[in-house]
Amino acid sequence: MNHKVDSSESQILEDEIVELERKLQDAKSRLKARSNGTAISAPPAKVLQSNGPLAPSSHHFLLLLADSALPLGSFAFSSGLESYLAHTRPASSFPAFMKLSLSSIASTTLPFVLAAHRNPAYLIELDDTLDAAMMCTVGRRASVAQGRALLSIWDRSLSSASPPGVSLADIQVLKEFTILLRSASPTVSSDLPTASAHLGPLFGAIAHILDMSLGQTAYVFMLSHVKALLSAAVRASIFGPYHAQKVLASVEVQEGIQEVIKREWDTKIDDAGQSVPVMDLWVGRHEMLYSRIFNS
């Protein structure tokens, strides 16, 4: 564990160095521009360029993974929101639910995202352990559906564009994982799957290969969850798109995400668990709804 903490701390320091070097370079180029009397603003094509190793493409992939157009199918899942509304009507409150949902996802899944980013070689093991720790049918289905979609995106779209200098061993891990997943025939209902493809560990591993930092990965993972909740809230007619954007932009969401990431940063995967037990009841009882617009 100490080793992991060290590596994450040195990761933070490395990120900081890259950031500072970028600023220095930026300031130098501005000074140069000033003395040359040319335009001060950077050329538009270079907006995302910086001088850290692999940094340009990592920004690129950060934006891709954070994009709501990433075809994961997240819009089909409400992570228990729909069931929560049905169980608590008319006293339901979206902000209250979002807080519970953030805490719950962070305590159950975020340690697996972080662990897979820190060491993608353990992907198969992480996937299996997370599969054993998911206590409700609906939640498992949602996690596996999005995980498989992400693996397909990697396979068909991202892998051919992976940044230069990427570790071949890490790519090999994903290849092996895909083979393992395909070899487990879905028609045979086995009690113990060899691989399930849950979203959390795959997201961590792919973000690592695409050279995103650990902090970025955790933030994007949690933010995507908030975005999926808000998109579900809009379609469940709780509020409109402007209000959703307002919530997404709010300080509460920013601080809420930072807070849970800080809380789970050093959590070992063996100590991950449910911090909001009633969430398992809501998500599990989603199947009991008379009418549903979401898959979870």
Binding site: L100, S107, A132, M135, D191, L192, P277, V278, L281, Y290
Partner: protein
């Protein structure tokens, strides 16, 4: 001065149980040892008992801040063990967050054997810090029925999830085989962190959303197969949430004249009880185990519910004997 007595081999709170099968298919204890504050009692065996009954007790009826209990149990092939308690396991206040009261249970269940653990709920008092870890290693054909539940504390004194911290871990492992290492089948980990001193909001209370009791029931193995199927079947026929009755009044009158079968009648009463006690539950199949999660407004509501289902289905009583159910009725 050195003690004239031989040094004790076991540490405080340690306990050991070994259950094996005697001729004529009677399960019996071959080892029972324990150290303060843990106490184990087993009534004298009878020739007709379906399983060995052991009371898991503590001196003074609870665990004081910093107490540790570590019980290791082996159940040999085809033997059966039931564990119960006498009243809630009370967890007393800890002087600070660092003083953790721990209860650890390690159980090895061999082929064809069964363990039924149906204790009373854990009752963490205000200010307590508790960590529970129950790890079961099952060989092929072993059976497990495990109930783990926690209450909001001394509700009569106005406590409502006022402890400092509570965590409950239940793990089920498939025993290592010749060609493979032990494999984790299920890890159910609930982590409840209380509010920090001085924080104004009642965060934990809000997280629990009006529940006064939260429980998990884990079923695995051939002895519990029919109970597991029963839970899944009952879950699938729960009335749909938000469904409306579109029948005409005439049809309703006609339908109410239909004589319900005994099971339908029981189900109707149970559903009414679920409604009255604010009981929510869900059942899921997780890698060969059935996990039932439930929450109720009151401890008694939860107890009545789980007891009623176990009694109606009947296989726990058939395989483990009537006494194994004493905490849930």
């Amino acid at each position: 001065m050195t003690s004239p007595f031989p040094s004790s081999s076991s540490a405080p709170g340690e306990g050991r149980l070994i259950v094996r099968l005697l001729p004529h298919s009677v399960s019996a204890l071959s080892t029972i040892t324990f150290q303060y504050p843990l106490k184990l009692i087993s009534p004298s065996p009878s020739a007709h008992q379906k399983s060995v009954l052991v009371f898991l007790l503590t001196y003074g009826g609870g665990l004081v801040g910093g107490d540790r209990v570590h019980l290791t149990i082996d159940v040999r092939p085809n033997a059966k063990l039931s564990i119960v308690t006498q009243g809630h396991t009370k967890i007393f206040k800890s002087p600070s967050r660092d003083v953790v009261t721990r209860q650890q249970l390690r159980v090895n269940v061999e082929a064809g054997a069964g363990v039924c653990l149906l204790p009373d709920p854990v009752q963490p008092f205000g200010g307590s810090v508790y960590e529970q870890s129950q790890i079961f290693t099952l060989q092929d054909g072993a059976s497990l029925c495990l109930l783990d539940w926690v209450s909001a504390g001394r509700t009569a004194r106005g406590e409502n999830w006022d402890f400092r911290a509570w965590s409950g871990r239940n793990e089920v492992w498939a025993a290592p085989k010749a060609d493979a290492k032990a494999r984790l089948l299920l890890r159910d980990n609930v982590l409840l962190e209380g509010d920090e001193a001085g924080s104004e909001g009642k965060l934990l209370k809000n997280n629990m959303h009006g529940l006064g009791l939260f429980g998990t029931l884990i079923l695995k193995g051939p002895l519990l197969e029919s109970l597991a199927a029963f839970f899944m079947a009952e879950f699938s026929v729960l009335p749909r949430i938000g469904a409306r009755d579109f029948r005409s009044q005439e049809k309703v009158d006609k339908d109410s004249g239909i004589v319900l079968s005994k099971q339908e009648l029981w189900r109707r009463n149970r559903l009414k009880q679920e409604q009255d006690d604010g009981l929510l539950w869900s059942a899921a199949k997780v890698r060969g185990c059935i996990v039932v999660k439930f929450g109720a407004r009151t401890v008694e509501g939860g107890r009545t519910w789980v007891g009623s289902i176990l009694k109606e289905e009947g296989s726990v009583e058939t395989h483990f004997g009537e006494d194994s159910l004493m905490c849930v009725r």
